[in-house]
Amino acid sequence: MDLRDSPKEARFRARLCAWLKENLPTDPEPTVLAERWPYMREFQQRLYRSGWVALSYPKEVGGQGLGPMEEAILSEELGKANAPSLLPLGHLGRPLLSYGTDEQRRRYLPPLLASDEIWCQGFSEPQAGSDLASLRTRAVREGDEWVLNGHKIWTSYAAFADFCLLLARTDPDAVRHRGISAFIVPLSTPGVTVRPIVLANGDEEFAEIFLDDVRIPEANMLGRPADGWRIAMDVVNYERGAVETGYLPKFERYLSELAAVVKTQTSTPDRAILRALGEAAAALEVLRMHCLRTLSDRVSGAPPGPESSIDKLLMTAVEQKLMALSLSLLTDTTAPGRAEWFDRYLYGRAGSIYGGSAQIQRNILAERLLGLPRSPG
């Protein structure tokens, strides 16, 4: 155990803090996604150009060639500086890095990491939610092309995206997860229709994607045929961490915003409020330490495994605790910010659904980590 910065880490932190001091946007983050998206993207592009994004990606693909600990420092300092939210897409470069050909990595990773091209994750389907392996979208080989037909749903940021990492069944005879492959689908391809879906809080965050005889070159398969399941599991394991998604700093910002709310309301908060504030702060501290532990495990280069379900459950618990706190603080119908916080609260309910529901995470922990007998499915 040594939570001190190494000299190299300390230099990195100092440079980062100096940069943040000069470069944080002065206008507040818009609450509505349609306005928030360009704002977040612009900040992320600026971060990237100054070398603060994709820290642990290799330099050849546009990363910084640093390690997981620098990612942890970035997360911490963005939180302390109340920086804008990051695009929660950091995990989508991982499969390209691990499974992409040299050609694919060179073509797709630099613009992805720079947020010049936006990606989305086309896994879920109307009939295949938790039971992802039952997905029905088909990919059929015709000459040197793949022809895709099917229907994806809940695809976050599809309406803003240029490419979709899409799972489709290539071998209908193989059992369930063995017949699935992964594809890189440009959303501008003829036959692709994206229809936004409005979230409970009014944001058009996700969308349906309809695929009608969508033809893509054979070179657009990621990995080999039937690698789809492995690739998908890698992606969700990364997605379940609070650093990769940029959620740790976001939650830190939420907590300081809520503390500011308390201060505007009273100079002598009652004990119940102090307790709730303390609990949220403690939960965040737990998340911060847990992320450090998780990232330290990754220094050796090992990708996250089923233990990422703990990270995901923790991230959800922290978010939902912060939101419960916001509700208890903003009971007065005239309180400023009430509507925005209620929207955030609604969004917080999705935390225990996306990336594998809280029940699915518990199944994973019980069966994969504790070795209890498997249930059907």
């Binding site: 939570l3 190494s6 102090l274 303390g278 737990v286 847990h290 459950l313 029940q359 518990r362 922990l365």
Partner: protein, 337 residues
């Protein structure tokens, strides 16, 4: 930055697990309720022999010169076995107070040799404000350590002793004739309190981990409806929740074990207080859930699950239960906003 136990710390963990498992195979921890202190004394002298009681004390003061993380590794392993020894009270809380708040050197050396020192707390096991009335982790003949009103760790002979075993018979409290005490204001005293919070958190983490292991063993063996109960999703999710709690307790506890010793004092207190309040609530939850998985046997005196739950409540209550750390955390967040 690196967050992981060292190879030596893993071996230490294993050693305590083996020592405890051996000892308690011959004589279950529950026996310690009525054996006149025999089991406690046996394990304590083993810990002294292994030089683990003086882990927090530098070598030139008679200790083993270990770290708080080392001591937490020991405390977690002892908690796992509900070991009936005053490790948190003596080897962590009292030792930290003596060491960080200017206590007498001869007491520190005596503590390392295995002599009994309890920490003195208020009636609700909070940090005493004006007088201390309860000795935490008390054993027969123990002396008490408290901060004096002028802020120095001071050793007291305890008189009018009246043991309290209602909640946790394995880790005794004792009402004592009140002694004058002061609040932790110096940096040393605050660091000692952070160490006490963290030590309790480590013991709580161990208690929870033991409950999880017991529940898992049982869930694999016990059959109902011709299947192991561990194949029912309702039971699996209870076990998954326990695992979640145990692992997150570990993260915050070991983070705090480093911060409480090495970080600037404000950060040390912040992380340690998060550890204390989080693990207190989590360990109680996990021990309760463990009993649920055990079914009827879990609520009897024939099983030690109730001793584990009792111990979780005691350590949750110690050093200001949830409230002291939560108020500190809330204060920090408000100061920053």
């Amino acid at each position: 930055m690196h967050f992981a136990l060292s190879e030596d710390q893993r071996i230490l963990q294993q050693t305590i697990d083996e020592v405890s498992a051996q000892l308690f195979a011959d004589s279950p921890v529950g026996n310690a309720r009525a054996d006149g202190g025999a089991l406690r004394a046996k394990l304590w002298s083993k810990l002294v022999e292994l030089d683990l009681v003086g882990l927090l004390v530098p070598e030139h003061q008679g200790g083993a010169g270990g770290s708080l993380t080392d001591a937490c590794v020991v405390a977690e392993a002892l908690g796992r076995h509900i070991a009936p020894v005053p490790y948190v009270g003596t080897a962590i809380a009292a030792a930290a107070l003596l060491r960080f708040a200017g206590g007498p050197g001869e007491s520190l050396a005596a503590l390392c040799r295995g002599e009994a020192y309890s920490v003195l707390l208020g009636g609700q096991l909070e940090d005493p404000v004006a007088t201390a009335t309860v000795a935490f982790d008390w054993v027969d003949g123990a002396q008490g350590v408290a901060l004096s009103p002028d802020g120095l760790a001071t050793v007291h002979d305890l008189v009018d002793v009246d043991p309290i075993t209602d909640v946790d018979p394995l880790h005794r409290l004792c009402r004592v004739r009140p002694v004058p005490a002061g609040a932790a204001s110096s940096e040393g005293a605050r660091r000692a309190r952070a160490a006490a919070w963290t030590g309790a958190a480590a013991f709580l983490t161990g208690l929870a981990d033991g409950a999880l292991r017991q529940a898992l063993d049982y869930a694999r063996q016990r059959e109902q409806y011709d299947r192991p109960i561990g194949s029912f999703q309702a039971v699996k999710h209870l076990c998954a929740d326990m695992l979640f709690d145990v692992e997150t307790c570990r993260s915050i506890t070991y983070g705090a074990s480093w911060a409480a010793e090495h970080a600037p004092i404000d950060e040390a207190e912040r992380v340690a207080s998060a550890a204390k309040c989080y693990t207190g609530a989590a360990a109680i939850r996990v021990c309760e859930t463990g009993i649920q998985v055990l079914g009827g046997i879990g609520v009897t005196q024939e099983h030690d699950a109730h001793l584990r739950l009792r111990s979780a409540h005691l350590h949750h209550a110690a050093f200001g239960n949830l409230d002291a750390p939560l108020m500190l955390l809330a204060g920090r967040v408000l100061d920053k906003a």
